[in-house]
């Protein structure tokens, strides 16, 4: 792996990143130019309209989408200086992701979905079981461990997605519209859970277009047309 850069105190540092896509003969900039930092234990919300570049930004932060320019430093490590396979290891170790619309594996039970990130680790079956059940208890779904995702409500599926994202105890949680498909009451419950996880030390970066969700964050970054407007 490339050497870590010195004299950086932030957990995440976004340096002059940009992301362009080719649309036929035209080049479209999803992210034009962004700079910001996230410290360890922060709860950041990234807010913007559809097409503002916030989901692309989240993918870039998660090591999923190579930026056209700039650097993303996580724990002083330039993650796009890593090979694709090293970046996969980085994601496994550092990042928990909550996808929009939950994205649970339909043929795996709740417990198996939560264990999924541990399938590529050397953790024993017994330990995996303990960790998965413990995290399910934390999100209040221990009793539904053997159900399939389609037997759960939207809010419950979101909780399973959160449990899956944090089961490996990553330092960073990326959440893409975690309340986007939930009613307000369920959304409030999910936000309270995220807040709780943040209090326990988890750094959370949440993309949302819902201003109410931003109230739970320490800081909101407004994104429009691929630019950070305010921090």
């Amino acid at each position: 792996m490339p050497a870590k850069e010195n004299a950086v105190n932030h957990l995440i540092e976004i340096r002059d990143i940009g992301k362009d896509y080719q649309a036929g003969a035209n080049t479209v900039s999803a992210i034009r130019h962004m700079n910001f930092q996230v410290d360890d234990g922060e709860f950041i919300s990234i807010m913007g309209q559809s097409g503002s570049g916030k989901s692309t930004l989240l993918a870039v932060l998660g090591g999923l989408n190579h930026p056209s320019r700039g650097q993303v430093l996580v724990d002083s490590l330039d993650i796009y200086g890593l090979s694709s396979e090293q970046r996969a290891d980085f994601r496994s170790e550092y990042i928990g992701i909550i996808f929009q619309s939950f994205q649970l594996i339909p043929y795996l039970t709740v417990l198996e979905n939560v264990k999924l990130p541990m399938a590529i680790t050397g953790i024993s079956a017994k330990e995996q079981d303990g960790m998965a059940r413990s995290v399910l208890a934390k999100v209040g779904l221990e009793a539904k461990a053997d159900r399939l995702p389609d037997q759960l409500s939207g809010g419950e599926q979101e909780r399973v997605a959160i449990a899956r994202a944090i089961v490996n105890r990553p330092p960073i949680l990326l959440a893409d519209e975690p309340t986007g498909s939930l009613d307000s009451e369920t959304a409030a419950g999910v936000m309270a859970l995220l807040r709780q996880l943040n209090k326990e030390g988890l750094t959370i970066i949440m993309v949302t277009h819902n201003p109410d969700a931003c109230h739970h964050a320490d800081r909101t970054i407004l994104v429009r047309d691929g630019l950070c407007l305010t921090q």
């Binding site: 994601r91 795996l108 198996e112 079956a125």
Partner: protein, 385 residues
Amino acid sequence: MKLYHISYNNLKRRKGKVIFLVLGLVLGIATIVTLLSITESMTRDIEDRLDRFGANIVMVPKSENLALSYGGITVGGVNYAAQEFAEKDLVGIREIENRENLGAVAPKVLGAAQVMGRQVLLMGVDFAVELPLKTWWHLDGTAPAGSDELIVGAEAAATLDLALGNTVPLGGRTFTVAAILQPTGAAEDGLIIGDLHAMQEVLGKQGIVSLVEIAAFCRDCPITELVLQIAEKFPAAKVTALKQAVMAKMQSVELFKAFSYGIAGLVIFIGALLVFVTMMGAVNERTREIGIFRAIGFRRGHVMQIILLEAMVVGFLGGFLGFVIGNLIAWSVLPLVIPKGTFAGVNLSLGALAILLSISLSLLASLYPARKGSSLDPSEALRAL
């Protein structure tokens, strides 16, 4: 949770597709197993026939002067007697290296004698050995039960005006005609056939054998090897393999075998194509899933493992079921292909090969889809989310 849990659960979920994939492989493997089993049974059948239907090696005295007419020999020549074998030496035939490949060993004595005023060729045989070998002999009457009974060839019977139950004076002894040999179109038609030792006595050739017919079939070694081994034991003998009969039959089997391989290859190719197309479709359908796997930290190798493990399970099932079904088909179809033929039996080595072939095919056909799936850029895959 291990990667194989994901493969197993996915196979369980996509039962329809799995059944389709397995069926494709079963079709290919069952075809191969059926054809090979039938070919094997045909080969066995030929072996059995050769064992039952006569000799394929003839041992005669070495001679440059004698012309041959029966089993490679013509009698009546002036130098003939000097070239024959001692009967007691024939045990040496049973001492060759490949003795377990020897079936019947049928010694014969031949000689001319005056019978009822005519010169007739006499042949002495061991009826207990000879008759099972000459299954094409059809007798009117009964097989000789004692040393004073004869079989008379159809032509000889007509010439000498002999009928069943007639007596024939030979060398001071009286023999009874126990059977008339129906016309064979061969040298036997003109013969009078009697017990080996009785004919030796009649011809004055006690302990002498004119030629030996040997029934042998060597599955694992060429018949020429057997011939060489016998020739080494009997330097004064000319040992000849009647290869033509064996070769002609084996050639037919070989042709069928080649045809079987051709058909099997074609079916296997179609089966592999089926697996390839289905696997490609399955991988495309799983883009979203693969995106999730990659996003949560699965390496390309992990994704490949999941897909190839599924292919392996499908391949194993296809191979195993194909082998079982192929054998069942061969067993049920065989009576139609070889009347009175017997099924060669379940060949476990073929089973292992069939399963290995099926797994290899499934893996090969899935390799490209697996590589394609594992190489998906997580961000590309996640666009499908």
